[in-house]
Assembly symmetry: C2
Homo-oligomer: 321 residues x 2
């Protein structure tokens, strides 16, 4: 079983409004409400592969209930620890030309007692776990070491962890020795500023400064992560591991909705970890799934045909490191 953690889930509400009046009354042509949050997207992707997955986290209030009901409807197994604060909503208005305005509520503050209760449920779930995925920002109220605690509990049970977060939570999490961390370029930059001592991760032509990115990723390995996979948007993935370094890239840039593409990559990495895939295979699947996710209109969804069809087109090259 793969345990996916989403400590700050959301109800993602989307209104499609053909022509938006930003100073008046609008009647949306279509309204969607779906369970959201990065961990939720990861769990949905893993579930769609037929994998045994469970989503753990904290949920509260009517919005928490709506998230749980939505997951039941999707058939994604979830067991949230009850919390006093109301689960957050995100609200997106999409107009007839595809422009989107997003409004992200901050989400509730989580108490130490609530996190302790979650930790007990999480600890029990480790018994049957093949891997754990820790995904998304930490809710307010938790120390930046929360993911580090969860990685340590997993390690004690012999369960490898995949971590996808940012800032201090990523820094503290890296130190706890996760199997894989998956920062994007911005997250890597924010974490590596000191180590880079002024070097930029972007080249003079606006492209990617490969050597600097590899050096920053190596820095996270030195800090504790066993492997670092940097997601570079349309430029693919750069992996720095104990077995070597690879660059995997899609055949061509895909137009679409990049929201959730990183979560698809994280899901594929966890899947590869459980299957014991080679890094080359693992990265090929991760790029293909991320690309298929961009092509699908809804975050956390993808077409199996796009995914399977895209695999052969991914170019994976080992790099010196």
């Amino acid at each position: 079983m793969i345990v996916v953690v989403c400590l700050n889930p959301a109800l993602d509400i989307t209104h499609h409004v053909t022509k938006v009046d930003w100073t008046g009354v609008n009647r949306p042509a279509a309204v969607y409400a779906r369970p959201g949050g990065k961990g939720t997207n990861v769990a949905r992707a893993l579930h769609s592969f037929g994998l045994d997955v469970i989503l753990l986290g904290l949920a509260g209030g009517a919005t928490g209930g709506a998230v749980e009901a939505g997951l039941r409807q999707l058939g994604v197994p979830a067991a949230f620890t009850p919390a006093a604060g109301e689960t957050r909503r995100t609200f997106t208005v999409v107009d007839g030309e595809g422009r989107a305005a997003l409004f992200n509520e901050p989400g509730p503050e989580v108490s130490a007692a609530e996190f302790a209760r979650f930790l007990l449920a999480y600890g029990k779930a480790m018994a049957g776990a093949a891997a754990v995925v820790l995904s998304g920002s930490l809710p307010r109220g938790l120390p930046s070491t929360a993911y580090a605690e969860l990685i340590a509990v997993a390690a004690d049970a012999g369960v490898p962890a995949v971590l996808d977060t940012s800032g201090d939570a990523l820094r503290a999490g890296v130190a706890a020795g996760p199997a894989i961390v998956k920062p994007n370029l911005d997250e890597l930059r924010a974490l590596s500023e000191q180590a880079l001592s002024g070097r930029s991760l972007s080249a003079a032509d606006g492209g990617i400064a490969w050597a600097a990115v590899a050096a920053a990723a190596s820095g996270l390995r030195t800090a504790g992560a066993r492997a670092v996979v940097v997601s570079l948007g349309p430029a693919g993935l750069l992996a720095v591991t104990g077995d070597g370094c690879w660059h995997a890239r899609p055949a061509a840039a895909v137009r679409g909705n990049a929201t959730g593409a990183g979560d698809a990559v994280t899901a594929a990495l966890a899947h590869g970890l459980v299957l014991g895939r080679s890094w080359e295979d693992q990265l090929r699947h991760a790029v293909a799934l991320g690309t298929a996710s961009v092509a699908a209109p809804v975050a956390g969804e993808f077409s199996r045909a796009d995914y399977a069809g895209g695999l052969a087109a991914v170019a994976v090259r080992q790099e010196a490191c």
Copy 2:
């Protein structure tokens, strides 16, 4: 007890965003979620007077649960009939300069069986009712005669009805003989087009064509309503009743949030009906409460000091009719 009916309640979600990026990601500085819908505003106002009130309607899904929880928190007694469809949300983004964009979900379709179940609960509530208020648009799926049915059931129990709706639901409701209907100028215009045969309700200078408004209101009396109170925004109220006609106006225009002012007027009319106030008194209270509601930032709320202080300043004049 006053029975207030809200067949299409809502959860009103408001995001305050200092500077809105209409094509990007926003993090609201403040988030509010409150029970909404016109009937809900009326019930809140009546409850704040210490009156024995009960809010009846249909509610479903997690959003329906959130509306019920919000009413409990406000202490407003409510007994919603469960419905399969998810209760609607309204979403308002207010920027730092007070500009507001509203997104109103259509709300669920109500089945005949659900309305029949509601009708049973409504019928039982008539036993102890002094008046009933029917407020807001009808949910999808119901015939335009739904309010007319409710007015007939109330009449059979000797309970007078106050009706605040529009279009075909108003037309059919008027025919059922409510004690008071409260159209605004737009609603009166839409209903009276034929009867007016080209006469406008607006004067050449953009003001109100008093004689035409009085004639249109008289038309609704002829069609069945026992009294017609037309709300005219800052120009106050025009009442056409079996006892005579009156015009009541506030001392001065008030700046603020006009949303919910009509609901405050409806609440005051129901209150006056139960107390047996003279029309003059009733209209004075209705204008003062409507004005106090405009001055308050949240629909359905008002300051008691504004209300009490404004009473003496309302000018009520009997008109020929």
